[in-house]
Structure formats: C-alpha cells, structure tokens
C-alpha cells in the first residue's frame, strides 16, 4: 500500500495547524472561564493574622470573611464556642474581647488582632474549673449544654460588671443568651452563687 501523502508538506501543515489550534482554544476558553468566574465569583482574599487567644499567640492565614467563631472552630480546634444562629441572636458564641463579653459570630477575625481574646477553653485553670463553671454544675445551670459555654462566658462578665443586684437585673443582663432547654433558673442561681463569693 502506498503511503503517499502521509508525510507530505500539506499534511504536515494541516496536522500542525490543527494541533496549534487545539492548543490555542483551551487557553482562550480557560481565560474566558476565569474572566467570567472573576466577575461572578469574586476572588477570595486571604490575609495573615496574628491573634492572641487564651493567652496564646497564633499566626495563621485566613480568608478576610472569617469570623472569630469560624476561626476558633475550624482552625484553632477550639470548639467550645458554639454556632447557634450565626446572626447574633442567641449568644451561644459569646467570648471575652479585652475582658468584655462579645459575640464571636459577628466579629471578623481580622478585626480582633491586637486584642486579648478569651474563649470558654481559657476560663479554667488547668483542671481547676472557674467558679462559674463549678456553680453551673452545682446549680444545674444546663440541660443539653449547647448554650452553656456562651452562658458561662456571659455570666462571668455579668458578675464582673456588677449586674447581679436582683434576679430581674440578672435576667435583664443575661437576655442575650438564649436557652432552649429553659435552664434559666439554674443559670440565675449560678450567677447569684458566684456573685456572693
């Protein structure tokens, strides 16, 4: 069988032209896809953060969108702070920033740099529970326990702020922490107990 044409100049040009074409198409498609993607899905911004959590300094990289709550739970293995509503309505994510209670779900990690952050994990002294943690155990300050880390962080701040004059005052100043089990009476008793110490 004659192989005429197989190595001909015309054939070479045809094949190499096609190959060049194929190489060109995917890159332009890829670039087009990237352009469209950038328009539709904005590029995420990762930044380097230095945070002081529970008296330990952490340097890490995080998307600018990362909240403190997500950073604790996803990157620092601090899963004590709970994601209840993620919209600042339930208080399950309550932590202390520079000693004051705050919601970690509404705090961008990038904005917490240079501040002293304390989570529920930083409250106890080794195996020695914080007096508020002990009081919650003794007074049945919880049932399922999901809201408890937030309740305890808020309760510690409530005592520090001095809002423990009456049951009504305690309830008013603990209203940012919801408990679906309804352990409120135990929580109020825990706070009264620590306030009296």
């Amino acid at each position: 069988m004659e192989l005429k044409g197989q190595y001909s100049r015309r054939n070479f040009l045809k094949v190499s032209g096609l190959l060049a074409g194929f190489m060109a198409v995917p890159s332009s498609v890829k670039a087009f896809y990237q352009d469209v993607k950038q328009y539709l899905v904005p590029k995420k911004n990762v930044s380097r953060l230095t945070l002081s959590v529970n008296k330990k300094t952490h340097t890490l990289y995080a998307d600018t969108r990362t909240t403190l709550l997500d950073l604790f739970r996803e990157q620092l293995n601090l899963t004590g702070s709970k994601k209840g509503c993620d919209h600042g309505q339930c208080g399950a994510c309550t932590i202390h920033i520079n000693g004051e209670r705050a919601l970690s779900c509404l705090t961008l990690a990038a904005m917490a740099q240079g501040k002293e952050i304390t989570t529920i994990e930083g409250l106890a002294n080794g195996d020695d529970l914080h007096p508020m943690q002990k009081a919650f155990v003794e007074c049945d300050g919880f049932q399922c326990g999901y809201c408890t880390p937030g309740q305890i962080m808020s309760a510690v701040a409530c005592v520090n702020e001095g809002h423990t004059g009456s049951v009504e005052e305690i309830k008013e100043f603990m209203s940012g922490n919801l408990c679906r089990c309804g352990a409120y009476n135990g929580i109020v008793q825990s706070i009264q107990k620590v306030a009296a110490q």
Partner: protein, 325 residues
C-alpha cells in the same frame, strides 16, 4: 458572603480618601457582618475605622460630645451621661444585649439598617434593599411596620432606641465629608422619611463619615423616662417606644420632649404634643390629652392597628414615669 478586601485606617482623613461607592466602613460590625452574611450588603472592600475615630466622651459645659467609636455600653455606663442625660442611658440599656452593646459603636447605631422582615428576605421585593423592586410589607406581614411618615414605597421603621433619645434631646451629628469638610446635621434631620429614595435611611452625604454626636446641655435630667414595649421583655426590637423628658417648675411644665421608636422610618418626634404640654400643669389628664393629640393623625397598616392604643398608653406611662424620680 462576597469576598472582600480588608483595610485598616488610622485617621478619618485616611478613611475618607479610601472610601468609594463599592467600599463600606466597619466599626462594631454587629449589623454589617450580619447583612453581609445574608448577601444584603456586598462591599468589595471593608475599611476598619475602629482606631481612626474618637472613642472618648468629652463632657463640656455646653453639653456632651460622644466620639463615633464609643461603644453603646460605654455611653450607657458613663457617669456624666447617667447624671446629665439619663434618658440616653435608659434608652441604650433598653436595646440589644450586653454583648451587642459592648461591640456596637455610637455612629454605627445611627447607621444600622431596618429590621423589616422583607429587607432581610432576599427572595422578596424590597425598595430599601433593591431600589424600585417594590414593597412587600405594605400588603404583607406589617405588624412591626410604620404608622406614620410612610408611603407606598416603604413602611419600614428605624430600629434604634439610642436614636430615639438623641432625637428627643436635640442632638447634633458631626461628620466629615469626602472632601474633608466638617458638617453638622441636627439629629431630627439626620434620618429621613422614605420619600422617593427609600433605599437611603439618612441625609448623610455619600461617603461622609460620622465623627461625633453632640448633645446640648439641657434641664431634663431630673425628669425623663424611656418606655419600650416589645414581644418579649428584653432583647427584642420595639413595637413602640416612647422617650419622655420634662423640665418642671414646681408642677408646671416649662418644656417637654417626646419621641418614639417603632413608629416611622426615622426616630419620631411628637412636636404637637410637646407644644401642648408646654406651660400646662403636669397632671394625668394633661398627659392623656397629649397622648391623644399625638396619635390622632396616625394611619395604621393592615396588621399594626394595635400600635395606636399601645403608643397612647406608652406615652402616658412614660410621662408619668418621668415624674416619679
């Protein structure tokens, strides 16, 4: 949440220079971060102004000057605020939770967005969220909506308690414009009614930044009260609220201030009722008449008619409470 660039600025001037239509300032973040999570606010850049603006309260003879970055808690707990402007402290403590008050800034409180359920539900039309898309609340679930100052374009109410007290006490907002000029806006002109631009909550010029809020010295410190009625006793937005302040000469009312939250697109001043009270004796009958005057022209929507008697009662209670001090 849409990805964004994050920049921290050191001064108000630096913030103004950086600000553009696609960027937003962030202070406490208690409202903005939530709006970003729900894709209602989608800034391309966030400008952290927490260290750019004043976080101190200056007590002067002419009044008190509150820095834009002073937290709501700090204002409420401030000694001079409690003694000279107790209404401010009472109103702040009636709002949000201790956690949120610790985070939220003074200027941010003024700039928080409405909590109208349709503003938050991106599947429904809302002129405030998406200009000219329509108002879902006017023919929908409007039990929380306005009873005054609204139009067919928007029936949302301003959610702040702090602002109700600031409106009552004739505060002034100081801001810096994009071209670095200082402007002052009387508080009662700061927030606006929906008009033809319901997507704008206030009259702050585009890209301007609030630097201070000033409250002039007054003679209302001995007789003021804030009554807030809501679905639960604490940590909920107002159905109606009333700030009442009286300047008494014996039993005679020399001057009165009445303002409300949960009523309109802006903190609502009851000028007619205030004028009526002036010069009258502070009696229950006079308070009842003032409250009747206040509510007489209100026009409730399909589901919020209950607000009228509720407001009337809240106003009488607030005036009476302001006497018991």
């Amino acid at each position: 949440m849409r990805p964004f660039n994050f920049e921290k600025v050191k001064s108000a001037a630096e913030a103004s220079v950086m600000k553009s239509a696609v960027s937003q300032y962030i202070a406490g973040g208690t409202n903005l971060v939530d709006l970003m999570k729900k894709n209602i606010a989608q800034p391309e850049k966030l400008i952290d102004i927490t260290t750019a603006l004043s976080d101190t309260i200056d007590d002067q003879n002419t009044g008190i000057k509150i820095g834009a970055m002073v937290s709501n808690s700090k204002v409420a707990d401030h000694k001079e605020v409690i003694t000279k402007f107790p209404l401010i402290s009472k109103a702040i403590l009636a709002g949000a939770s201790p956690q949120i008050r610790n985070m939220a800034s003074t200027a941010g409180n003024l700039l928080q967005r409405t909590r109208c359920p349709y503003f938050y539900d991106i599947t429904t039309p809302c002129n405030k969220r998406k200009p000219n898309s329509g108002c879902s609340a006017i023919g929908g679930a409007n039990r929380m909506s306005a009873v005054a100052g609204y139009n067919e374009q928007c029936v949302a109410v301003h959610p702040s308690d702090f602002c109700v007290a600031l409106a009552a006490l004739d505060a002034t907002v100081t801001a810096q414009t994009k071209d670095l000029k200082e402007i002052k806006i009387p508080f009662t002109d700061f927030h606006k009614l929906p008009g033809n631009t319901p997507w704008l909550d206030n009259n702050l010029p585009q890209d301007a930044i609030i630097t201070h809020v000033e409250i002039p010295a007054n003679a209302f410190s001995r007789h003021s009260a804030y009554v807030k009625l809501r679905d639960r006793t604490s940590y909920a937005f107002a159905l109606v609220s009333v700030a009442a302040a009286l300047n008494l000469d014996g039993k005679r009312i020399k001057d009165a201030r009445l303002a409300s939250g949960g009523i309109a697109h802006k903190p609502w001043r009851w000028f007619e009722a205030e004028k009526f009270l002036q010069g009258k004796r502070a009696t229950e009958e006079v308070f009842e008449e003032a409250a009747r005057l206040a509510v007489k022209d209100l026009k409730p929507l399909s589901e919020n008619g209950y607000k009228i008697p509720m407001l009337q009662g809240a106003m009488i209670t607030a005036l009476k409470n302001s006497m018991n001090q």
